[in-house]
């Protein structure tokens, strides 16, 4: 019991760095002529203080968690997936295409089909770097960065051509967005009058599934083995390139699902900038959760809350939105920078024990 408490304490220790980041932020706020107390009050209240804030936080946490799960798998498999952005986009595109294309189909069939389409598209977008790495040794950082840019252009093309909302053409405005998804694929709202949708539950369930997958199945075992020591895994008969590719494919699949769920649960249509930032924020969420699927759950909520609260703060005290990025950057830097403190504490504890 004490051991568990110690571990939990050590996991939370880095969060003590958040106030330090906020202290620096407070100085910036003062310099901008805003009242830091008012600002941070608005931030915390905005993110967790009422139903509206809390639901917004959870809405944000959902894609972060889904992307983060993919990041966990990929990192555990020893590959760095920074292609989340692109994978979200293609996942959302695919889900939209299926939903709009077969809008007459019953929701019972169409809804899972849309999610599947998102998963498959994301898997494909992660699979290209995966297979390029497995077959031709192309570094995945390079290919995932490039695939992000390609996805953006693909989306630009589809959303102003084949997939554009016919109403936009009629109206002559030609805004690059798809038609509205049929209601049958909208994810159920968990709290009326808010955006919180059942995708959040799917994400949490999947976190548990990923945990079981990574630590309780042979495939997960192989992925972790490959991630930690390729040579040893190879000698043990594990097909290293295959599992590297698989981890990128699964990473992509989760990001793709995040995209699908985002259109089905929140936006109800595909539009530009759907992904913007989630691909990277998902990495941050996963790493805040120590690359553990279950740890990613609170980490995503925390990071989602930070994003929502920061927006609220910006509105409450009217400072440039750039302050938010600055503050988030500081939080990330200080939190990861102080993780070493809890590592050292654990080390000391084990050395004494």
């Amino acid at each position: 019991m004490k051991r568990v408490l110690n571990k939990v304490f050590e996991a939370l220790l880095p969060l003590l760095a958040v106030p330090v980041a906020f202290l620096i932020g407070a100085m910036m706020l003062l310099a901008l002529g805003a009242n830091p107390l008012e600002a941070y009050g608005a931030m915390i209240a905005g993110a967790f203080g009422d139903v509206s804030g809390l639901t917004q936080t959870l809405v944000k946490a959902t894609p972060l968690l889904l992307v983060g799960l993919g990041v966990c798998i990929a990192f555990r498999g020893g590959v760095i997936n920074i292609g989340g952005e692109g994978q979200i986009i293609v996942g959302a595109l695919a889900a939209t295409a299926v939903a709009v294309g077969f809008k007459e189909w019953p929701g019972l069939v169409l809804l899972p089909l849309c999610m599947l389409a998102g998963v498959l598209a994301g898997a494909m977008w992660g699979g290209v770097p995966g297979i390029l790495k497995a077959r031709l040794g192309v570094n995945e950082i390079l290919s995932t960065v490039m695939m992000n840019a390609i996805a953006v252009q693909l989306s630009n093309y589809l959303l102003r051509g084949p997939m554009i909302d016919p109403k936009e053409i009629e109206a002559g405005t030609r805004i690059a967005q798809s038609a509205l998804l049929p209601r049958s694929v909208w994810l159920a709202r968990l709290v009326p009058q808010t955006l919180l949708h059942s995708g959040a539950i799917i994400a949490v369930v999947l976190a548990v599934v990923v945990f079981i997958f990574l630590w309780r199945t042979t495939i997960g075992y192989r992925i972790r083995a490959v991630g930690l020591n390729r040579d040893a895994a190879k000698y043990a008969g594990i097909n290293v390139p295959f599992y590297q590719a698989l981890s990128l494919i699964l990473g992509g699949a989760f990001a793709g699902l995040a995209g699908a769920i985002e259109v089905m649960g929140v936006q109800h249509r595909m539009m530009e900038n759907l992904a913007s930032g989630y691909g990277f924020s998902g990495i941050v969420a996963a790493l805040f959760g120590s690359l553990h699927p279950l740890g990613s759950i609170p980490a995503s909520v925390l990071f989602g809350g930070l994003l929502v609260g920061a927006d609220k703060m910006q509105r409450a005290v009217q400072v440039p939105s750039a302050l938010i990025d600055t503050l988030l950057g500081l939080v990330v830097l200080l939190v990861v920078g102080s993780q070493v403190i809890s590592r050292r504490r654990a080390h000391r504890r084990e050395t004494r024990g």
């Binding site: 390079l142 941050v284 790493l287 938010i324 600055t326 500081l330 990330v332 990861v336 920078g337 070493v340």
Partner: protein
């Protein structure tokens, strides 16, 4: 298609490609140093933005692009120091520190821009310097030898950094620290110091990369003006197999194709612009996929070093 393979087009691609490649070269060669020493710095983009802003601001206030360049370099070093402290001294996971640094730089550069300038302005940056005889070479002379100083500097950096990495004691230390920091440590090489040096050098070059946009190539600052260049620069390090010459190859390939796709559009070739815009990204992946020789990365890349932990 034939109209694309005319002399003016090729000369135009050569000229634009070289200019486009300049910020990538600075940033990617800086990142090459960081990675060769074992530090993956994903925050290049944020540093570039800070360099672009500080270079522009100082250049504008003093009227001297040289002072702007100096400011960008100093700010780049400071950002590098921050990255070093977090990822080397505090041994944080490097990927995420870099993303944090990126967010920080992105935010702070716009914040400073908003509070100090408030709106987009332009300045007189570095002027093109025509190299007398060379620029007179028919066809290619103007494309190659009529650029501003930072463009030349970026390309001179390639042989210089190759030489430093391969022929100096410092370069040897960098390579050793990136592959087996423990071995280097046991020989009395100060792993921390070498990594700090490389990350700060990388930061300085990323700062200059940003400044090359704001005080030499485009001569203005706007929020998020690098628009993902920093991440492409990191990718180019992998493309180049951690060698400056290879990095230059990647930067030029990417930039030439980018210049080429604009010509496709200008010449009204009938493909959707989005596909034209994709070309440099697709070709960069393909070029690497079909390259015959593949370099091995620094073995200790992105692994924090702690003595005794081995």
């Amino acid at each position: 298609m034939a109209e694309l393979f005319t002399l003016p087009v090729l000369v135009g691609i050569l000229y634009s490609g070289i200019r486009l490649a300049t910020p990538y070269l600075f940033a990617a060669i800086g990142e090459t140093f960081a990675q060769r020493s074992g530090v993956l710095n994903l925050g290049v983009e944020g540093i570039m933005l800070m360099g672009a802003f500080s270079g522009f601001y100082v250049g504008m206030k003093t009227g001297s692009p040289w002072l702007g360049l100096l400011a960008a370099a100093v700010v780049g070093i400071l950002m590098g120091l921050l990255m070093s402290f977090i990822s080397i001294t505090m041994q944080a996971e490097q990927g995420i520190s870099g993303i944090g640094l990126h967010l920080f730089g992105l935010g702070l550069s716009s914040l400073l821009f908003k509070t100090t300038m408030g709106g987009v302005e332009s300045i007189e940056g570095f002027k093109a310097v025509r190299i007398p005889l060379l620029a007179d070479i028919p066809y290619v002379g103007e494309s190659l030898f009529n650029h501003n100083l930072l463009v030349y500097a970026a390309f001179l950096l390639v042989p210089l950094s190759t030489w430093v990495l391969n022929k100096t004691t410092l370069g040897l230390k960098i390579r050793a620290v990136g592959q087996n920091p423990q071995a280097a440590d046991t020989l009395g090489v100060n792993v921390t110091r070498v990594r700090y040096f490389c990350v700060c050098l990388g930061g300085m070059l990323a700062g200059i990369a940003g400044a090359s946009l704001s005080i030499a190539l485009i001569n203005l600052f706007q929020e998020n003006m690098t628009n993902g260049m920093g991440f492409i620069a990191v990718a180019l390090v992998y493309f180049g197999g951690w060698r400056p010459l290879g990095v230059m190859g990647g930067a030029l390939l990417f930039s030439f194709v980018n210049a080429f796709q604009l010509w496709i559009q200008v010449k009204g070739i009938n493909i959707p612009s989005d596909f034209a815009i994709m070309m440099p990204y697709v070709l960069t992946i393909l070029a690497l996929a079909f390259a015959t020789k593949r370099a091995q990365g620094p073995a200790a890349l992105s692994k924090p070093y702690e003595r005794g932990e081995n």
